[in-house]
Amino acid sequence: MLKKLINDPFDAVDEMLDGFVAAHADRVRLVGERVVARIAPDRAKVGLVIGGGSGHEPAFVGYVGHGLADAAAVGNIFAAPSPDNCLEAIRAASAGMGVLLVYGNYAGDIMNFGIAAERAAAEGIEVRTVLVTDDVASAPNAEMERRRGIAGDVVVFKCTGAMAERGAMLDDVERVARAVNAATRSMGVALSPCEVPGAGRLSFELSDDEIEIGLGLHGEPGMRRGPLLTADETAEILVQTILADLPKPSGHEVALLVNGLGATAQLDLYILYRAARLALERAGNVVIRSMVGEFITSLEMAGASVTVTLLDDELRDLLDDPARAARFDR
């Protein structure tokens, strides 16, 4: 069992949320029991609702605020939020201009958000949905629609939230969300497993010299297992797999995001960032925007993922727009 600083595992999510809204009360508030909503924006706008299971902190609650999402629905650890919570988030985000749901492409999230979207529509709220599908390791290119959402979430949230904050109409906000998702690819490696508190077992087991390549964001085992690699070798695999998945591997202006999964030192993240940047540059691309840190974690898993977004002027400017969310400032 991994050692944790928690109390009763059955209370973990509610206590986390309690702490979260207390710590960030200047930017967010709790709605009901499991929805984090932004302190009301000053004017009507398209609502952006995000969400998913817990255990990914600072996601998803950390991305609620000015220039980002209006509400996040919060599930149990690694479990999609319930239809009731999703509906409450939609209602909190709705200001008469429609609501866009943006979340990772997982069966549980689709069922729960889907049920809520139907109910919200019945209440007269116009709801659209865009699924994040950035994880190249989760399905082949030909089956893009089966791919899962991992750290690319953050880039998609940022651009979409900025578009909504600008006052764009639902059609345009949805268009941006689809565009940034289509321009975004990610892939990760795990060095050690995580463990759902209370379940008592590690998500997978790795020996001292093994890593899991292409893992999911919940410790789902990845594409394959391999020997421990250097940061340079790891970056090469991740970047090459990502580039090979794009229509052409070079000539892009890109945003590069390196995400720590929870237990990997930030020292390592910058070393991996450097290697990934060099690999992108060697392939003839230019990194014009960067993010390094823990953006969407898998509890205390060791490992990291690399996300590349092809930028055009619109997406670049949307990334640059100001944001003041609970855990994201720009």
């Binding site: 059955f10 479990a79 939020p81 009731d84 594409m223």
Partner: protein, 216 residues
């Protein structure tokens, strides 16, 4: 009847709790490891809602409470159980269309549960999901009905069918849900959701059979 149903539901909740570590381990091997905790949270929700249920609650009412308790859990498994139990509650409630015999009523409940889960989740037999434990229950009850088995025998056979079905998933390759990214690597251990379903069916069956013995 509601008392017996309450007892069976609570027995199911207890059995899920007892299997928490094991379900976590199975889900962790190919999925995200939450299934033990998720089902246990469901069990807690169920107990809390049952405690608050009015004494006059009908079986359909109770089933709807459990459906809501499972919906509150979220995840993939929550909506699936919620849809299945809501369908069963509707079936149980509509006395008009209810088939005559006990076994036939049970067979019908299993059928509507399967329809609801397939309708929402689109899994088929062999996809390594809860369906691989539920479908054998439907088949078993159809057989029992055809053979005009008594209720106890039909229930025991159904529980065994669920268990055999769950065990059979060990050889399957996941084609749906989180584990599907693993492909061949998902072979080897039984599916977590099929396993928890078989555990629930066994608990309900034993509670029912115990109650009958007690009543004699």
């Amino acid at each position: 009847m509601s008392d017996g149903l309450s007892a069976a539901i609570l027995a199911a909740a207890d059995s899920v709790d007892a299997a928490r570590q094991e379900l976590g381990r199975l889900d962790g091997a190919a999925g995200d490891g939450d299934h033990g905790m998720t089902m246990s949270i469901g069990a807690r929700n169920v107990r809390r809602r049952l405690r608050a249920a009015p004494p006059a609650a009908s079986p359909a009412d109770l089933l709807r409470l459990v459906a809501q308790a499972m919906a509150d859990v979220g995840g993939a498994i929550g909506p699936l159980y919620s849809a299945a139990l809501t369908a069963v509650a509707t079936e149980v409630g509509s006395a008009a269309t209810n088939p005559a015999g006990d076994v036939a009523r049970l067979r019908r409940a299993a059928e509507v549960a399967e329809d609801a889960i397939v309708g929402l989740g689109h899994a088929g037999p062999g996809d390594k999901t809860v369906i691989d434990a539920l479908h054998p229950v439907v088949e078993s009850l159809r057989g029992a009905e055809a053979r005009s088995s008594g209720l106890p025998a039909a229930i025991e056979a159904a529980a065994e069918a669920a268990e055999t079905g769950a065990a059979s998933t060990a050889d399957m390759v996941a084609r749906i849900g989180r584990a599907s990214r693993l492909g061949e690597r998902s072979r080897g251990l039984p599916d977590a959701g099929a396993t928890s379903f078989a555990i629930i069916v066994r608990a309900v069956a034993d509670a029912h059979l115990r109650a009958r013995t007690g009543n004699r």
